[in-house]
Symmetry: C2
Subunit: 84 residues, 2 copies
């Protein structure tokens, strides 16, 4: 399972667009605060596997490629734990 505290230490790059509080820094990026962790894991894995194109995938795919399954679970747990 994901560890939100560990996730908080892994979101440095994510925060540039999604905010440390999970509130997107621009309207073309999704807010992640309070999002469902299983969905976030599914989305990150789809980017990592190169299954998600379009939108901001050119940014997301290389970001996700660097993440392990545990990293993804921790990051998802962190953003999911935030208040929308």
């Amino acid at each position: 399972a994901g560890d939100a505290a560990a996730g908080e230490t892994k979101i440095g790059a994510c925060a540039a667009c999604h905010g440390t509080d999970g509130k997107a820094t621009g309207p073309i990026y999704p807010n992640l605060a309070g999002q469902n962790a299983p969905y976030l894991e599914s989305a990150l894995k789809a980017y990592r596997e190169g299954q998600r194109g379009g939108g901001m995938s050119a940014i997301m795919a290389p970001q996700a490629a660097a993440l392990s399954d545990q990293d993804i679970a921790d990051i998802a747990a962190y953003f999911s734990s935030l208040t929308p």
Copy 2:
């Protein structure tokens, strides 16, 4: 621009997984309430153009394929207008 009132009349299929209130009916689906409308439009168009695979794309792609740009803008405006 999107019309949230018109969007409310177009989310019948969406609500099965995303809820009429934008709160997902299952953890593998994303909550959409209060999500950024430009992001929602971008995601729906990526599904419609077949650019998004993985995750629940097998369900989302045919749903999005039936939507016009105005439908997408209205649906995005509706979900974005909801309180997370």
